[in-house]
């Protein structure tokens, strides 16, 4: 392997990081407030919710599936959690119920997709609508407010200067990284997405392993729902709406293939950061709110295009 090939290999692996670095440099020139430590922590804390869901979404997309119900799971877990907190005043119980909500939602999703063989797009779309309806019935459209300071600390507190959501984010990605790259289970995830039939023939229990993937993402979504509720101090009926798109965008910008079988977990967090930094810098610069969506769309397209160019170039070099 010559030097050129080596350079391209590095580029391929780190292409998302390079795009983020470019955006960071431009942003730093555009606004003096951007590079401050407090703003950096601010951005990471803001993206932590999307990125945590994104970790689960990476697993799902690696198997060749999709989960559109994550936003509704975020909302439902938050609502149940806040509701339990309001009636019992017990933080562990509230967090437990929130996570249990995710577990059950994921179990149901997995049942329809892995067991019954319904396409993930349809099954999770139906669940998205169904769960949003459950939220409306449960909250009656009015937000449930959270009074407990211990509960709020999950979203607002910090340990040694680092906000709690960022610490949770680090743990989630550490666990996801180990699970995906250092365990037999991780290899089955890639195998199912790469070639389902081959995976089955080689003795992998496709149903069980795919089922688990949907439980993982719903659990992470409910965790995100608890963080969101704690940060806002309230669980609104609309909480989590549209989060599925941010999570999917983070995974795709992170370079994971929508077709499944190809991709990495860590670039997803970079993908989420790219989206978060865009939001941040556009507000810092006080860009006309009508125009921000245009700028966001254009930058995402450029990022994905640049990503494809990197991939094509490295494929050529490797030939």
């Amino acid at each position: 392997m010559n030097a050129k090939e080596k350079a391209f290999r590095v580029l391929t692996v780190h292409r998302t990081s390079i795009i983020l670095a470019l955006i960071l440099i431009v942003a730093a020139f555009l606004s003096p407030a951007f590079l401050s430590a407090s703003n950096m922590l601010n951005v990471i804390r803001q993206v932590s919710i999307t990125a945590i869901i994104g970790a689960g979404m990476t697993f799902v997309i690696l198997t060749g599936g999709i989960d559109l119900s994550v936003g509704s799971v975020v909302g439902l877990a938050g609502a149940f959690s806040a509701g339990v907190l309001q009636t019992t005043d017990s933080v562990p119980l509230a967090v437990g119920i929130g996570l249990l909500t995710g577990l059950i939602c994921g179990f149901i999703n997995g049942f329809f997709i892995a067991k019954c063989g319904i396409p993930a797009f349809i099954a999770t779309l139906a669940m998205m609508t169904l769960l949003r309806g459950c939220i409306l019935v449960y909250t009656n459209g009015t937000p449930i407010s959270v009074q407990s300071d211990i509960y709020k600390a999950v979203g607002k507190g910090s340990l040694a200067g680092i906000p709690v959501p960022i610490i949770i984010l680090l743990f989630v990605y550490l666990a996801a990284y180990i699970l995906l790259t250092h365990t037999a289970y991780g290899r089955t995830v890639y195998a199912i997405g790469g070639n389902r039939e081959a995976a089955r023939l080689s003795g992998i229990s496709v149903v069980k392993n795919e089922w688990i993937v949907y439980i993982i993402i719903a659990l992470l979504s409910s965790l995100a729902g608890i963080i969101l509720t704690a940060r806002l101090g309230t669980a609104a009926a609309t909480a989590g709406e549209g989060y599925e798109m941010d999570a999917i965008a983070s995974v795709i910008i992170g370079g994971t293939s929508l077709a499944g079988g190809q991709g990495f977990i860590l670039p997803t967090v970079i993908g989420a950061l790219i989206l978060g930094v865009l939001d941040n810098i556009l507000t810092l610069m006080n860009v006309n709110p009508f125009a921000t969506n245009i700028v966001k769309g254009v930058v995402i397209l450029i990022a994905v295009l640049a990503d494809k160019k990197f991939k094509d170039l490295s494929a050529k070099v490797n030939q």
């Binding site: 703003n39 609508t129 009015t142």
Partner: protein, 331 residues
């Protein structure tokens, strides 16, 4: 080719499921409202025929509009009318369908809270053709025959807030404006009212104008970013209370509650609490509950042959620490 056909089938069936689900949720909302009104109406209904009123709401996920519905239900209950409620989920085309479904049920009158002032016109015309009188609330329609429109003056509300900020800052300081969904008249009018007043004070500088779609979570994020960029802010105007409360979370986290005059609009319970605790300075009381109740009362009045005002502007008042204890937002 086979693949693309599969995809098409997928998308089509997805659309069908979504449509069915949406239909179900509207159906559920209708039936609960019906049964509630019917139960309580039973004793009142002795001599004449029970009036049936359709209420097409634009959304039921926003506390403001939930209160409108609750007020309307209470009004119907008191007057012994039957209320059929639909929820358009903030979508103009769903609302069109809702109104059509109401028309086929032949109610005596339809009250509409339009999701969109322009898009609702054809639905109102259909009701006109079916000889069913229409009352609009909150957002006025741009056409069609309506018996009466009642709502609040959003330009005035924005102006009251602008004046309050100008007076509190003594005509000098840096101000942030957080706007609502800028496709709606309410957001545009509140913004216009606010800016018309602020423009009169040359020493008040608008350091940031951003939209947060009337949403608490979005407002918190936007405010966090604005606080990072601007170390010197004296006042924040949020176009509704949900956003003001989101801003409050961000401002509190930054430890700048004492330096920033924060005002909202709508007089939610949480806002009143924040005003009592001195975390927020003002809001506008536009009680949605009474808007809903008034609409039903006016409808019944009209159906009994009494004269009703073509346009009713309900009073919006500034709420501060001085008068917060005497504010009435529901019965």
């Amino acid at each position: 080719m086979k693949r693309s056909k599969k995809l098409l089938a997928l998308v089509l069936s997805a659309a069908m499921i979504a449509a069915t689900a949406a239909g179900c949720s509207t159906g559920a909302a209708t039936s609960t409202a019906e049964s509630k009104a019917a139960e309580s109406a039973a004793p009142a209904q002795s001599s004449n025929k029970q009036l049936v009123i359709g209420l097409s709401m634009n959304t039921q996920t926003n506390p403001f509009f939930v209160s409108v519905k609750e007020g309307a239900q209470k009004g119907a209950e008191e007057l012994g009318a039957k209320l059929v409620v639909t929820d358009a989920q903030n979508d103009a085309s769903t609302q069109m369908k809702d109104v059509e479904n109401l028309i086929t049920q032949k109610p005596d009158l339809i009250i509409i809270d339009p999701a969109d002032s322009d898009a609702i016109v054809s639905a109102i015309q259909e009701a006109n053709d079916a000889k069913i009188p229409v009352i609009t609330i909150d957002r006025a329609a741009k056409g069609g025959e309506v018996v009466s429109h009642m709502g609040f003056n959003a330009i005035k509300a924005g102006g009251l807030e602008g004046q309050f900020i100008a007076d509190t800052l003594k005509g000098k300081g840096n101000v942030v404006e957080i706007q609502g969904i800028m496709g709606t008249n309410v957001a545009q009018d509140r913004s216009k009212g606010f800016n018309d007043v602020i423009a009169k004070y040359p020493d008040i500088k608008k350091v940031a104008t951003q939209s947060a779609d009337f949403d608490r979570a979005k407002a918190m994020k936007v405010m966090e970013n604005i606080l990072q960029a601007n170390k010197d802010i004296q006042a924040v105007y949020a176009a509704n209370d949900e956003m003001a409360l989101g801003c409050l979370e961000a401002i509190e986290a930054a430890g700048r509650t004492k330096d920033i005059v924060l005002v909202g609009n709508d007089c939610l319970d949480d806002t009143m609490k924040a005003i009592k605790e001195d975390k927020m300075k003002a809001t506008i009381n536009e009680p949605p509950y009474f808007l809903g109740k008034n609409a039903v009362q006016t409808a019944v009045k009209y159906l009994k042959g009494e004269k009703v005002e073509k346009s009713v502007i309900l009073e919006s008042t500034l709420v501060t620490k001085e008068n917060v204890d005497s504010v009435k937002t529901r019965d």
